[in-house]
Subunit: 338 residues, 2 copies
């Protein structure tokens, strides 16, 4: 039970030095002699002193807080990314302040205001619709923004995604090579760049093989809509393969086909997802999917953000990281597929 607050002045008094000396000891790269450092640290340890981050932030203008704007954590990809992001930032002395954009949602303005109120040093947005507006306005306010797993036309913003075009193209090749003739696609929300890019890449890949999707529906990243779309595709379009815009929806599709419609995956219909969340590897699904290398995406996000914080003139980056197709059992494997 320390007497409430112990300040740098207390330490200074105890060590018989000035407050600024104490400050310098706790400021990396400041000019302090060995003897001084020892004296101060001894006094500090004895009193249990630690610098007050808030007071420090007030004067340095940096809070060492990163705002993370996130809409929903139901898709396992995001908790996973959150955990990695937080660990990576913690190693650099930053911490994540969470802003949920999903709630009753007074909307974007509310979130933006709160973000600015806390003087966050940088912002990461993930899985959120109104990304564009948040990002643009915060960037205008001079706070570096990185869009995680979502793209954006605006060249002033940094973004980190997987290479959705190339990834979806690989999936197209894979499905064609597997001998599928009637291929459907349930897109992620087409209001998101991720959804659009995957669709475009997929169409391009099919086109290269002289094919085209026979049916395309927007799944809005929601299980129920994806399941309904899948049912329609099977009943009406008689598809033999579906590329689903992310794993989260793909699980719903597999459930619908197997348990509601009594079909076999992949015998009746091949399913391919996108993300490779941990669940995709579980025996119940064994989902063939394109891996988003979340480790590398997180690293890229963190370094893009921190670089930008360190020197604000750094040009914004648009990074797309390539990921491998992970072949499991939810889709027919082409003969001789390496």
């Amino acid at each position: 039970m320390p007497e409430r607050k112990v300040t740098s002045l207390d330490v200074a008094a105890k060590a018989g030095v000035s407050q600024s000396a104490v400050s310098r000891v706790f400021t990396p790269g400041a000019s302090v002699s060995k003897r001084m450092a020892e004296k101060v640290r001894a006094a500090a340890d004895e009193l249990g002193y630690r610098p007050n981050v808030l007071a420090r932030s007030l004067i340095t203008g940096r809070s060492r807080i990163i705002g993370l704007v996130v809409a929903y954590l139901e898709n396992q990809f995001y908790p996973d990314a959150l955990e990695r992001l937080s660990n990576a930032l913690q190693e650099q002395g930053y911490h994540i302040l969470i802003f949920m954009a999903s709630g009753t949602g007074e909307g974007v303005d509310q979130v933006i205001d709160e973000l600015l109120d806390y003087q966050v040093d940088g912002i990461i947005t993930a899985s959120v619709g109104m990304t564009d507006e948040i990002a643009a306005r915060c960037d205008a306010a001079g706070i570096p923004v990185v869009l995680f797993n979502r793209g954006q036309e605006d060249l002033r913003l940094s973004e980190v995604t997987s290479d959705n075009l190339a990834g979806a193209r690989k999936i197209a090749e894979f499905l064609v090579a597997g001998g599928h003739k009637r291929i459907g696609h349930i897109t992620g929300w087409t209001g998101s760049s991720t959804g659009r890019d995957r669709e475009a890449g997929f169409r391009a890949g099919l086109a290269e093989a002289g094919a085209a999707p026979i049916i395309v529906r927007d799944g809005h990243y929601r299980r129920a809509e994806a399941a309904a779309a899948a049912r329609e595709m099977v009943e009406i379009a008689e598809v033999d393969a579906i590329f689903v815009g992310n794993d989260h929806m793909a699980f719903a599709v597999m459930d619908e086909l197997r348990f509601s419609m009594g079909l076999s995956v992949p015998k009746d219909v091949s399913i391919v997802g996108y993300d490779d969340v941990p669940l995709a590897a579980w025996p119940a699904y064994q989902l063939t999917t394109l891996r988003q290398p979340s480790g590398r995406m997180v690293d890229a996000t963190v370094s893009a953000l921190l670089d930008r914080i360190a020197s604000p003139d750094t040009a914004p980056r648009k990074i797309a990281i390539d990921g491998p197709l992970i072949v499991r059992a939810s889709a027919t494997v082409p003969e001789g597929w390496e």
Copy 2:
């Protein structure tokens, strides 16, 4: 692009009033006349002024930041709780600063120090082993702590859990009523109160029916260990039912039994979990499980914490919320079970 920072002094100058007047306008419950408020708000809006939370925190001593210490987000229960917690706190004007205790982990001390550095107003711990030490030390430092989904002997700490004893007892009754004779139990980590309480409740429930578990193993909340334990239980102890300490492990157990061992759930072995995470309702698992009412748990957690922050003398609370057994298809349903 606002000229970097606009302070209360700028607003005061523009409105032709004192800085304290501006401060009062933005402080709920302060004494300000209508005319003054209008003038100030007009000037503030025009300049795009918003109070600096950090400076405010420095003087009021409250940061409106809640530290959330969390170890792993793989178990879907926690992202779900995180989302709810964040939304609930946001409504009260608080935000969550994340502290991952899972990382390379310089250990507890590191985390505690960082928590204190940020002057958090309160702390919630979830899914983390060294809870006891963190909680005790932070509480000693005068910061209210609530343990979420974990209990603790120490009477000075608040905690919110589901009623693990009663819940596990219900499961015991259910399995006995289902005619199971050779019942196994894979505990959550027995180093956690949650794990211990569920085991105790389960044993008590069986004992009441004159039964007892024929084999008990510690699953440590990990998929791999749970799967291995399940295999052992089937091969060596020939169980006909397993109560698994949480859903996260239960999924692994079902996968192991069905896909590695070729058994039928529930025909060969009944499986019951605990938590009722969203996944439990998916057709692939249809897991019978005891629901932890995370909505109510979150509400209780938030109000316990905020009450404690508002008046530090409030007695710590230990709250256990009752949850219903959700009967699905992973365990034999007793005849005439309502």
